[in-house]
């Protein structure tokens, strides 16, 4: 039987495929809990196992420890030479090449190319057998992932064709002190506008995080203020401006976990000292200045290449 190799090699494949073969781990594609046999089982029993389960290779294990493998070829030889009633232990292949479950799939592909085996047993970090991987497992999962990528591309292409770019416009939202019930209104509006303009979900999320955290900061910490969202086709600039009392130490406020929030705020799951670091994290450009008269934070999110051509 001639084995066809996986038509993916490490240089000339599209980068999306290469990326997938690195991103996917063997544990993502392997067959878990494969059908196994013990060392005392006869080849005849194993032949039946293969038939019942429509498989062509059976790992021989004892207490999850892999001892060897019996393949269809071994069974054919056994029938040919009349030792089909021998035990697995007597006839199994013990010189095994195994893979580990946290290796990237690219590893498995290169192993299949190099060794021409039909399957590789997969071990976990404790050297216990956790699965078996075949060419078919890999192609199936790659096709599945490629389908997902193509769906995304198609959606993006559809957006680019039908969506208009983010319009030039400025939206201002008044944010009141301690108005927890309204918190999230401004960020939801930002999200809706970007979504309508066909901006990618990742970028929308960045903008939503920045807007929400800034909005929340005004609600929780300030005497009230406003959020000004300046939209243009290539970027969104969110300016948060409040009327005091200011941040005593801006450097401290930028540290994760540092917070001056009160008990009430904390009991609602806010005030964990993540807000400003979160905003900075999602921003392509970030600045903050503070005085007792008020705090101004400016967060810029780039929207380039987000379906703006349409």
């Amino acid at each position: 039987m001639q084995e066809t190799s996986i038509p993916i090699n490490s240089v000339s494949s599209p980068s999306v495929i290469l990326e997938l073969t690195f991103r996917l781990k063997i544990r993502d594609v392997m067959t878990r809990n494969p059908v196994c046999a013990g060392p005392e089982d006869s080849l005849r029993q194993i032949q039946h196992l293969m038939k019942e389960n429509a498989i062509t290779g059976v790992p021989i294990v004892q207490n999850k420890h892999l001892l060897g493998i019996i393949s269809m070829d071994d069974i054919v030889s056994a029938l040919d030479y009349g030792y089909i009633n021998d035990t697995a232990e007597q006839r199994m292949t013990t010189n095994l090449i195994v893979l580990e479950e946290d290796m990237p799939v690219s590893f498995a592909i290169s192993y299949f190319e190099r060794f021409r085996f039909h399957r590789f047993p997969v071990l976990n970090a404790d050297k216990a057998l956790v699965g078996i991987v075949t060419n078919r497992d890999i192609t199936t999962h790659l096709l599945f992932e490629v389908n997902k990528e193509i769906e995304q591309l198609e959606r993006a292409a559809g957006r680019a064709a039908t969506a208009s770019a983010v319009p030039n416009q400025v939206q201002s939202f008044t944010v009141k002190k301690h108005d927890m019930a309204k918190a999230g209104y401004a960020s939801t509006q930002v999200k809706l506008l970007l979504k309508k303009a066909g901006v990618s979900p990742q970028t929308i999320r960045k903008a939503a995080v920045a807007a929400y955290e800034l909005e929340m900061n005004i609600v929780v910490h300030s005497d009230g203020g406003e959020l000004i969202c300046d939209f243009s086709p290539d970027k969104l600039v969110i300016t948060s401006r409040d009327s005091g009392p200011g941040i005593a130490d801006v450097n401290l406020a930028m540290q994760k976990g540092w917070s001056t929030a009160d008990e009430w705020t904390r009991s609602l799951g806010f005030g964990a000292g993540m807000g400003l670091p979160n905003v900075k994290n999602v921003s392509d450009d970030f600045s903050i200045s503070s005085s007792p008269e008020g705090t101004i934070v400016i967060s810029t999110i780039l929207l380039e290449g987000q379906g703006g051509q349409g």
């Binding site: 019930a181 918190a183 939801t188 609602l268 799951g269 806010f270 964990a272 993540m274």
Partner: protein, 108 residues
């Protein structure tokens, strides 16, 4: 898994939404942490039963909430979830127990 599969855990549905695909989960009560780190298309396991959780979930692309420890879902929270097409489940399970069960459902 589908969002509706969470029903199979015996969790009570407080708000039903589109049966979208759930590909991950996040457990946390610090909503800023959730906002910054929860994956999209996920289920959030939390005890924060109030309207702001809905806002955070929506902005982070979370599709379902599991409110643990038998905490009560206030009406304004359920209404907000309905408007945002977000599932809310309630359970007597702790966040840990719910996380383990969701992990199983996700095949982790």
């Amino acid at each position: 898994m589908k969002a509706s599969a969470i029903k199979d855990l015996g969790y009570e549905v407080q708000c039903e939404a589109a049966d979208s695909e759930i590909t991950g989960a996040y457990t946390g009560d610090l909503l800023s942490d959730v906002m910054g780190n929860a994956p999209s298309d996920s289920v959030l396991i939390t005890i924060q039963a109030h309207k702001n959780t809905v806002a955070v979930a929506t902005l982070a692309g979370i599709k379902a909430l599991i409110i643990c420890n038998d905490r009560n879902v206030p009406d304004d929270m359920a209404e907000a979830a309905k408007a945002e097409d977000l599932w809310i489940f309630t359970t007597a399970d702790s966040q840990f127990d719910a996380s383990v069960k969701i992990g199983h459902l996700l095949g982790l």
